[in-house]
């Protein structure tokens, strides 16, 4: 009985997350519209919110087509891997001190990093299995980008771990008497930049790059398989935003309001910031992307760890 209830609860959380991703697609189009002197989709339902449902229905009702030059198994598996890895990461995300599936897990942060690496596999396999040169180029770019930005991302997170002395997300939030954005401003900036690159969203959308690679790694995808990639991207965006709120902005800590409302507010603000970035910045050239990752972010992240470790050691000694 208990197991059944848990399964039901997990199903509900999954559905809520999927609905959230669908809503984010719509919200992004709307916000981008307002930032670009347009209105965005505003026809279906109040404020146009039915557009999310219409998009989902359209994707689900399309034919699941496998090109005859594609590798059938990997082609089918890759989108599922992407959506799966993004969804599973949310298991360790706490909404509140007591409201999470595995928020107390002592390797929560590590688990998220592992899942984001799995996400990279999904993107790469999807591009490779499509048997299309644009997809392949997108996949190669995705791998190079994800590898080079996972490093500064992990190193920036190491600063947080050093300060809080915990890898579980509950523990990290509990340790934040002052938000870590104050103690780790450099780490915060590095984490945000690398996070945007990890989710390969604009301005770091080189794996997709409509203007150069048609649609990059998902050129050959359509219907719900494309939908999985889409869901994975928006779930990844949500994940990075939630992580930013948890690790740097103090999580559920906040005056007056209940904790989970603070979580929603902080996450929403970060997501709006991502939309804003997308509306503003152009895509960098590929070598610029690599140079930023290896020549600027990585040394800065190392410096950040060095300074944090030094300060922590001094604090402990003195």
């Amino acid at each position: 009985m208990n197991v059944l209830l848990m399964a039901l609860g997990m199903l509900i959380s999954t559905l809520v997350l999927l609905g959230l991703a669908g809503f984010l697609v719509f919200a992004e189009r709307r916000v981008l519209g307002f930032l670009q002197n347009r209105l965005g989709p505003n026809r279906l339902g109040p404020f146009g919110i039915g557009q999310a449902l219409a998009d989902a229905l359209k994707l689900m009702s399309k034919e699941n087509f496998v090109p005859n030059f594609a590798d059938p198994v990997l082609y089918r598996g890759a989108p599922i891997l992407v959506a799966f890895s993004a969804l599973v990461s949310f298991a360790v995300i706490p909404l509140d001190q007591h409201f999470s599936w595995a928020g107390n897990w002592n390797i929560g942060l590590l688990f998220i990093l592992a899942m984001s690496s799995l996400n990279a596999y999904g993107v790469f396999l999807g591009g490779w299995a499509s048997g299309n040169k644009f997809s392949l180029l997108g996949a190669v770019r995705a791998v190079a980008q994800l590898v080079s930005y996972e490093l500064p991302l992990g190193l920036a997170l190491l600063g947080v771990v050093l300060l809080s002395g915990s890898l579980s997300l509950n523990g990290i939030v509990a340790a934040q008497t002052i938000p870590y954005v104050v103690l780790q401003p450099l780490g915060f900036v590095i984490f945000l930049i690398a996070g945007v690159a990890e989710t390969h969203r604009l301005p770091f959308d080189l794996p997709e790059a409509e203007s150069e690679l048609v649609a990059g790694f998902n050129t050959e995808y359509g219907g719900m398989r494309f939908g999985y990639f889409f869901l994975g991207e928006y779930l990844g965006l949500t994940l990075i935003a939630v992580l930013t709120a948890l690790l740097y902005l103090g999580g559920w800590h906040g005056p007056w309001l209940p904790g989970w409302i603070w979580m929603f507010l902080k996450t929403g603000a970060v997501i709006l910031g991502f939309f804003w970035l997308r509306a503003t910045l152009p895509r960098p050239r590929y070598d610029q992307l690599m140079a930023l990752g290896w020549k600027i972010l990585l040394p800065l992240a190392l410096l950040n760890i060095l300074a944090t470790a030094f300060a922590a050691a001094m604090w402990r000694l003195g």
Partner: protein, 176 residues
């Protein structure tokens, strides 16, 4: 140094996009009426003169000038010797709304007014006959009546009897 400049420029860019919030230039067209320019070229119509008669004299100039050959008409003559189109047909699935027919018309009969949104299911429905083209108003030129200025003799009016018209001159008496 250049990295610092880059950061500043990203900030400037973000501020530029943020300032655009709420400055929507989209017009929600079916709900909000469009403000069409006064010289907008919409669907051609046939207008009437201030007295309520048809302005068209069936001179065929519009048909001749039409680059897509979408105007077809047949001329006829009334009992008072005034010419009129017996039939007038415009195929709007070919019309490109260039306005050359309006420019060519000597009597200001054919005019491109402001109707622009019309769609049909079949091409055949786009062929408009004279009954559909002829409107009851004067269009853009409320006071113009070709026959009052033309110098053409009609059964109820002699040459030179119109507005701003002088009596005909005998050209032989006019020689130097």
């Amino acid at each position: 140094m250049s990295a610092w400049r880059g950061v500043v420029q990203i900030g400037v860019g973000l501020w530029t996009t943020l300032r655009q919030l709420g400055r929507t230039s989209t017009i929600s067209y079916p709900e909000v009426a469009l403000q069409l320019p006064p010289r907008w070229r919409g669907r051609p119509v046939l207008t009437r003169d201030p007295d309520g008669d048809e302005r068209c004299v069936a001179c065929q100039l519009c048909s001749a000038v039409c680059p897509t050959r979408c105007i077809e008409l047949q001329a006829g003559e009334r009992a008072d010797e005034r010419r009129y189109p017996v039939s007038f047909r415009i195929n709007f699935s070919r019309c490109i709304y260039c306005g050359l027919c309006e420019e060519a018309c000597p009597t200001l009969a054919i005019q491109l007014l402001d109707e622009f949104a019309f769609s049909k299911e079949h091409h055949a429905d786009f062929v408009y006959e004279k009954e559909a083209l002829l409107i009851d108003g004067t269009g853009k030129h409320p006071h113009y009546n070709f026959y009052r200025h033309s110098g053409v003799a009609l059964s109820n009016k002699d040459k030179g009897a119109g507005l701003n018209e002088k009596a005909p001159v005998n050209v032989r008496s006019n020689l130097p």
